[in-house]
Subunit: 352 residues, 2 copies
Amino acid sequence: MPVGTQASVKALRNEALEELGAEIILANTYHLCLRPGSGLIRKLGGLHNFMSWPRAILTDSGGYQVFSLSELRKISDDGVRFRSHLDGSEHLLTPEKAVEIQLALGSDIAMVLDECIETPAPRDKAEAAVARTTAWAKRARAAFLDHTARNGECPANDELQQWQFGIVQGATFADLRRESARQLLEINFPGYAVGGLAVGEPHAMTCDMAGEVTALLPRDSPRYLMGVGRPEQIADYVALGIDMMDCVLPTRAARHACLYTSEGRVLIKNARYAEDQNPIDADCSCSVCTRYTRAYLRHLFATGEITAAILATHHNVHFYLDIMRQIREAIEFGNLAKFSSEMHARYSAEPA
Amino acid sequence: MPVGTQASVKALRNEALEELGAEIILANTYHLCLRPGSGLIRKLGGLHNFMSWPRAILTDSGGYQVFSLSELRKISDDGVRFRSHLDGSEHLLTPEKAVEIQLALGSDIAMVLDECIETPAPRDKAEAAVARTTAWAKRARAAFLDHTARNGECPANDELQQWQFGIVQGATFADLRRESARQLLEINFPGYAVGGLAVGEPHAMTCDMAGEVTALLPRDSPRYLMGVGRPEQIADYVALGIDMMDCVLPTRAARHACLYTSEGRVLIKNARYAEDQNPIDADCSCSVCTRYTRAYLRHLFATGEITAAILATHHNVHFYLDIMRQIREAIEFGNLAKFSSEMHARYSAEPA
């Protein structure tokens, strides 16, 4: 899922996302809640209508940003009290409130509020976070079912069927991860996410924890690993049974002139590309690679042109979506392990 | 002509310019000379090839930016010595050098180097600038004809036929304008520009001066008024016989959240648009107005999203190109004066 934090995948028009074949994007509840506000989005017909994006949208609960961006957060069993990083205004985010907001946004997939803790975490802190995450998940599920029973799925759009996903926590403790998954399975969600990973721990640890969880989750429910990943890691997660991922890497790297290619990463501002008449990636079929040269991209970045971000983002999102297409193909041909080891060889190298 | 200073119309991919029907863009010789350098562009097959823009390009001489952007400029009969505003490096721009650079860029229309003076200017200064502009125009024409006789039109592209335009100066003195035009006509250019206007003088004065010049210039040569204009002024210039214009206004205003509509200017960041589900302009057929709302545009500007600049620029350039389409229609139906007075009524009002 390309990330459209503020109801826009940075530097891409929706038309470009459609051309790229994006079927679902992620939008951030915390940001949209502060600006323009979930009430306004609801009033304007929900997020799909507001941003004119008819394809699927997943919204997070807002919890992760409360923990990472806001000031003066105070967590209790009730919820999280925090101050906006924009204007210092005080807000209380509860499991019920996170449900209500995402129903107002009218996303296709809504995440429950979970407790995100810093890692590495001591065991007692991780245990407490799992307990609170489960208690919050129960309240969120009850609020969601109660609300939809009374009001229909989405106040902004009667036709919307929203899927609510639970989030497995447990830091880097395998037994806590399993315990968290079992507790969420008891609540019974139509989909599950694995949260609190890819926050600094080694890739092998991320895989271990994700694997502990996917082994328990039903194969016919979507399984979503949050906030990943680097190009060479994606196939590993898929091999573990992960179906969905989101990451700012392709779009953020693009704005910082880091381009992904079939040969590895290209730092396009490097002087070696000044006269390079090749496309970003000779193997790429995107509309940037079929028209523009590395020399031109380098020039646009060197001179600070907005078009640099537009073209680079377009290419990197194509690259990421193409990884998923290649993975589906590798699965069909039984080549996933080979594909994964090739990706690791290619992208663990220094960028060119 | 939309302005693509650094070989990119800011925030628009070439694909968007093509969708908008732009037939010609302007690129700035001064900027391209400093970055990436005319030698590099020549080596990479000329500007068309470098930026992947097969349609027409007009390049200015670089003189205007030398006078407005660079430091320590020193003008003599030989040319202008200046320091780059980027790195302080010293350069000498002569009439011959401006010809040589633009042949290297391989633009379709190249401008001669002229002397730009500040306005209002005393008569003796304006007289001296006309004399120097004519002397430089003679040298530029000789250099161009000599070069093309020896080397073909464009070193980067044998198939290119470059048109060299002379530039009429004379500040706000009608007799000097006429004298400048007559002197350039003697040199004999395939097209002519009117320079040194729209630099602070009243619109009526711009029209007076442009009219003095177009009355003398051949009707079958393109007549280009440089650096204009506001939407309501364009029809006036066309009525005086002007065929070509360039202006950063549509693109720059767009990036500052000022949108042009059939009802006047809209400052889209205004709170009154927060819930406005109308398009920027209900009468506009551009791909932004057919898909996105004012509320969404306002949100994108309020949150500083790059997509705000992309969508706003697209719309404003459509608006400007549409003015030209409407003017052509008005001419055919004999309605140009009516069209002009309607435009003045609409755009002299305060923005909404």
